[in-house]
Amino acid sequence: MKRVLWATFLQNLRCRWRLGHGHPRRRVRTSLLLGGVVLLHVAVLLGWRPAPGENVGLAGVIGCAAAAYLFARGARGLMSLMDSATDLHMRKMAPFSQLAVPAGTLLGAWVYAVIEVLPLASAAVLALVLSGQPQALTGYVALPLLGLPAAALGHLSAAVSLRCIGRSLTRLVVRILQYAAPAAPLYAAVAGMDITGLFGWWAIRGRPAAAGFLTVLALGPLLAWLAALSTPAGETVAAGGARRTPEGVTLNPGGFRSLLRKELRLIVRDPRTWARFVGMPIAVVPTVWIMLSAVPMLAAVALGVIGAALTGLSADVLTRSEAERVPVLRLSLTPLSRLVAAKTAATLPLVVLVAAGGGLYLLSQGVPHAPVLIAAGSATGAFSAWFSAQDRFRMFTTPNTFLNWVGYFLWLLVFLMAFVGVLGHIQSGPAVGVVFLVLTCPLAAGAVLIIRRARW
């Protein structure tokens, strides 16, 4: 059992690395993470840290955010296990305890998430140490330890959810958790809420730290065992739902409409796709609400523009799944631009819905200019959807980390310009909006030119 557990854990970790940060197509994400870590540490060293005596909440917020992230990763790990036909077959057929595979998966999710979280949390630990709390160094041990019960709880909760509300809805909930959970404690802290009591013990000298360590040490293995035990047997067919379409469907190829129909079918029928796609706006709304509820106008613009842009960007799931079909698509007579246009068009209804949500909220606050917000949000969202689809396709055949970086940097500028432009339009009049629109156009054109450099 121990050897199987160890082998499964190593295999899981290896797969996570190779499909995650170690994959050539994920270099942007990896370099963003590393860049963020370096910037945070430099900022802390340069004095961007709480003054001594003002740092009471920081340890709790970081502990809470780390636990939330690990919780979401634990839940996500279970869903990945449910999707993996190989793992399911191994569990059913292999002559060892059925607990080994889920336990190995959970441990893999835990360790990998810790590797992601710890460098970021390290900046907070450094800030605490520099502001007079040297005992915060225990965070390098305490946060990983805290992660095990959190990940196990996530795995356990997803397992219970699978039994109660089914695979599709659980997938949606897990996606929302993945998007919103890690940031929620930070936003809540910014909004002045106190949710940090349970998670700051590791930076407090004396009995609270000892009690925290002991609790986590005891709870971790227990919850991990319970989580492994609760893992459903699963079925090898991943997508679930109805497996047959009604009779009478005829083959009716016909231009763009047919391409769009196929995209919509893929979205609607595969929970892995729609959960990821729909999860983003559902996660954005409460996040915006927590952060900006005190300034309704800002909240409305954030929802309308940022929400729509992130929804558009999350539509990359539609293109990511095309990896295995690249030979067919490349050899076809349909140009790449049409394939990208079909994917963008398929995401438009949700993008417009989110932008309209922001516009309606703005209207409900008695502020005019809702049409401007809806138009700007829809345009930014559509551009983001196009950008993500085009970039994914380009990365299949022409992976280039530098171009990816430059492209995403320009996209970020477009997105910020749109946000500030709409704010300026509402607060200072149309002239400001027009100036920002004019400034945004060359940036968008630059992003388009860079991202279109694909060998196809």
Binding site: R244, T245, S332
Partner: protein, 239 residues
């Protein structure tokens, strides 16, 4: 007769390892060629390079007189390539997948419908036409993949392991379809299944470590023996 495919001293590297090592091959229009060789000999890579999907480090690839990659856009109108694993969508039905393929290749609706229906019936997939592909067996998926290539009626068919997973009846049908291709259409099949290959191909090209080590006409009932002989000769073993 013009060359449907010409490879001259083609070199393809994967991480510093030469998968195609100065490979040269000419396939004339209307020929039926079998690519044979061990796993990793370079058969699939050859097909992917020839279809323009993989870039190569050195040499020249010409498809129907069109150099690759310079005129890939025109060349791909003539190519019908089926990878070793049929690239299907799990949540589409065979009918919907074929509709998508017909759209991608801009086939006229009536012709696409007629061919798809005929092939689905011939391959005994008509009953399963509205079932999601994820519920299908490997052989059924392979049939859908084959239909998706055959219904386009391309000039140059490049099929990678087309008989893999097929039942005996489907193999016979595929062999019959491939044998009945008109003389202006070229067939290149990479396969380990010698029995159906023997019935389809008229020429065998044997690869080893990215090079052509033997090139001989296929004689009915003697392909396995001829292949063994060619491999031994190439390895320098006296026979």
């Amino acid at each position: 007769m013009t060359a449907a495919l010409a490879l001259e001293e083609v070199r393809k590297l994967f991480g510093g390892r030469a998968v195609l090592d100065g490979l040269s091959l000419v396939v004339r229009t209307g020929e039926r060629v079998a690519l044979l060789g061990h796993n990793g000999a370079g058969k699939s890579t050859l097909l992917r390079v020839a279809s323009g999907l993989l870039p190569f480090e050195a040499g020249r690839v010409i498809v129907a007189g069109l150099p690759i990659p310079a005129r890939h856009r025109e060349a791909k109108e003539r190519i019908g390539y089926l990878p070793d694993v049929a690239p299907l969508y799990e949540v589409l039905t065979p009918l919907e997948y074929l509709e998508y393929i017909a759209t991608l290749w801009r086939l006229p609706a009536a012709a696409a419908r007629e061919r798809a229906v005929a092939y689905l019936k011939e391959y005994q997939l008509w009953e399963a036409r509205n079932s999601w592909i994820q519920t299908m067996s490997k052989g059924m998926r392979q049939k859908v993949g084959l239909i998706s290539v055959l219904m386009r009626e391309p000039q140059i068919l490049m099929l990678d392991e087309p008989f893999s997973g097929l039942d005996a009846e489907a193999i016979d049908l595929t062999v019959r379809i491939l044998r009945n291709l008109s003389d202006d259409r070229t067939l290149i099949v990479a396969s380990h299944d010698l029995e159906p290959v023997e019935q389809v191909a008229r020429r065998a090209v044997v690869l080893r470590q990215g090079r052509v080590i033997a090139d001989f006409p296929v004689r009915p009932g003697r392909l396995a023996g001829d292949l063994q002989h060619a491999v031994r000769v190439a390895a320098g073993v006296s026979v």
